[in-house]
């Protein structure tokens, strides 16, 4: 059975790029347009990994990450932050919140797939 990855990004074009790369690698995907939408989709479904942007409206990626780590059934779901943000302070905040990897945009689809393959549970 294919593993499922949630893509959280406010940019529709980015979601398409990520979705295509992951689907080609054999993953199923679920999309959320921001952190708030993503929280709404933590409804018990099986998620093997989450790819999350940092800067988003309504609820940013780091806030979502912190929320996720307090949600029992998803607290061990690995999260990859995929963002234009490259400030060390932000990365440190992401690491402290429980992110497993930080990918700076623009990214090579193959890099993302390699990281997902490595971290997907």
């Amino acid at each position: 059975m294919a593993k499922t990855v949630m893509i959280v990004d406010d940019s529709g074009s980015f979601r398409v790029v990520v979705k295509l790369a992951l689907q080609k690698a054999g993953y199923e995907t679920v999309e959320a347009v921001d952190g708030k939408d993503a929280v709404g989709k933590l409804d018990g479904r099986k998620l093997n990994l989450i790819v999350c942007d940092v800067n988003m409206p309504n609820m940013d990626g780091l806030t979502f990450l912190k929320h996720l780590k307090t949600t029992g059934s998803y607290k061990f779901t690995p999260v990859i932050m995929l963002t234009t943000e490259s400030q060390e302070a932000k990365k440190a905040e992401g690491k402290a919140a429980g992110a497993r990897a930080w990918i700076t945009k623009p990214f090579q689809p193959s890099q993302l797939v390699d990281a997902v393959n490595k971290l997907c549970v």
Binding site: S11, G12, S13, F14, V16, V17, L20, A21, K24, V54, N55, T83, T84, E85, S86, K91, G94, K95, A99, R100, A101, W102, I103, T104, K105, P106, F107, Q108, P109, S110, Q111, L112, D114, A115, K118
Partner: protein
């Protein structure tokens, strides 16, 4: 991976400096204009307009001959404040519209490329699953397996050969009959010769009898008998010539039939040979076709890589969208702030610029904020 982008260094300020917020507004307008012009398409004219407007605003405020910044307008508001509060929101809205249009266009382009990539994947997968292999001895196996079909092929020929053999046998019987006819022809010539002799003897006997009553009749019979013997000999010769001709024709036909005679086993071997030749030719054609398919498969894979590269490059759209969104938002905030703080100072401008810098999410923004540094763009995966 790290890429470096050189950024132009602006000329240092000279002469009368414009107010800090106007300087910022002009810079924002120029920056947004350049950004939109870079995006191109429908955004390009707006970009050119913004760049020109920003440049004009900056130049106007720098020139000492133009009305001073501190001029007070209707209602006690400064002219610059009125300008900023009315013009900047328009630019901000235009940027938002442009950003939305760019986003929509990019999303459609991405969807198209996504569909193309999907079709290509399907095509290459189909080609990859289509393979035919011919093991050594495959042709022998195929011929063995298709023996009933090959036998069916030979049956019609076999019937034709049997008919030919029957015809040859009939011709051989004809030869026998012709030999008998030849003998009969010889016998008839022999009889004719005897008849002539009898006629000659009859005429001698008639002359010896001399002046008898039956002399005239005997002579007439002898003449008639000689005539009949001559006709009989002529017919016998003709029959013999005809028989000889027929014998020659029949002999040739029988010889040809015997030379071309094909045994059933020989026929089967020939059919086997032809079937093998046909199969080998078919496999060669199939091999060439498969080679062509492999080349198409390779081309498809290469094209997929290129589409991946297109996806990578399309990510610029997200960066442009983010930058435009941030600039538009800042412009709106700035217009509101200026309206609330008409007597801003240099320290206010510094504070504004610091806040802006802190809000940036991309290295490009931080670098362009100062306008005199190189952009260090880091890419890649950092695992924690």
């Amino acid at each position: 991976m790290t890429t470096t982008t050189a950024v132009a260094v602006p000329a240092p300020d000279e002469g009368a400096a414009p107010g800090p917020w106007l300087r910022w507004a002009a810079a924002v307008a120029v920056g947004a204009g350049v950004l939109l012009a870079w995006v191109g398409g429908a955004a390009a004219p707006l970009g050119a307009l913004l760049a020109a407007a920003g440049g004009t605003l900056y130049a106007t405020r720098r020139a000492p001959t133009v009305a001073p910044a501190a001029e007070t307008g209707p209602g006690g508001r400064h002219g610059a404040e009125v300008m900023v509060s009315q013009v900047v929101p328009v630019w901000s809205r235009q940027m938002e519209v442009t950003r939305d249009a760019a986003n929509e266009g990019l999303a459609q382009l991405l969807q198209t490329f996504s569909d193309m990539s999907g079709t290509l994947s399907q095509l290459t997968d189909n080609l990859a699953s289509f393979s035919v292999t011919a093991q050594p001895g495959a042709v022998d196996d195929a011929v063995r397996a298709e023996t009933p079909a090959l036998q069916a092929l030979t049956s019609a020929s076999q019937r034709a050969f049997e008919q030919r053999d029957a015809a040859v046998a009939a011709l051989a019987e004809c030869r026998e009959s012709l030999l008998q006819l030849q003998q009969l022809a010889k016998q008839s010539r022999e009889i004719a010769r005897h008849m002539r002799l009898v006629a000659f003897n009859a005429s001698i006997e008639a002359n010896r009898a001399g002046g008898g009553r039956n002399e005239g009749g005997s002579l007439a019979v002898a003449v008639e008998l000689r005539t009949l013997a001559g006709r009989m000999a002529g017919i016998g010769e003709e029959v013999e010539r005809g028989v000889l001709k027929l014998q020659a024709v029949v002999k040739t036909a029988c010889r040809d039939g015997e030379i071309n005679d094909t045994a059933p086993e020989e026929l089967r071997l020939e059919i086997d040979l032809r079937a093998r030749e046909a199969l080998v030719a078919l496999l060669a054609a199939l091999g060439a076709s498969l080679q062509g398919s492999a080349q198409v498969h390779q081309a498809g894979a290469s094209l997929r890589d290129q589409i991946d590269s297109v996806f990578m490059n399309f990510q610029f759209g997200d960066r442009v969208s983010q930058m435009m969104s941030i600039v538009a938002n800042d412009m709106s905030n700035f217009a509101r702030w200026v309206a609330a703080n008409p007597m801003a100072t240099q320290s206010d401008a510094a504070e504004w610029l610091a806040t802006l810098e802190a809000s940036y999410t991309m290295e490009e923004q931080r670098s362009h904020h100062h306008g005199n540094v190189h952009v260090e763009r880091s890419a890649g995966v950092e695992f924690f």
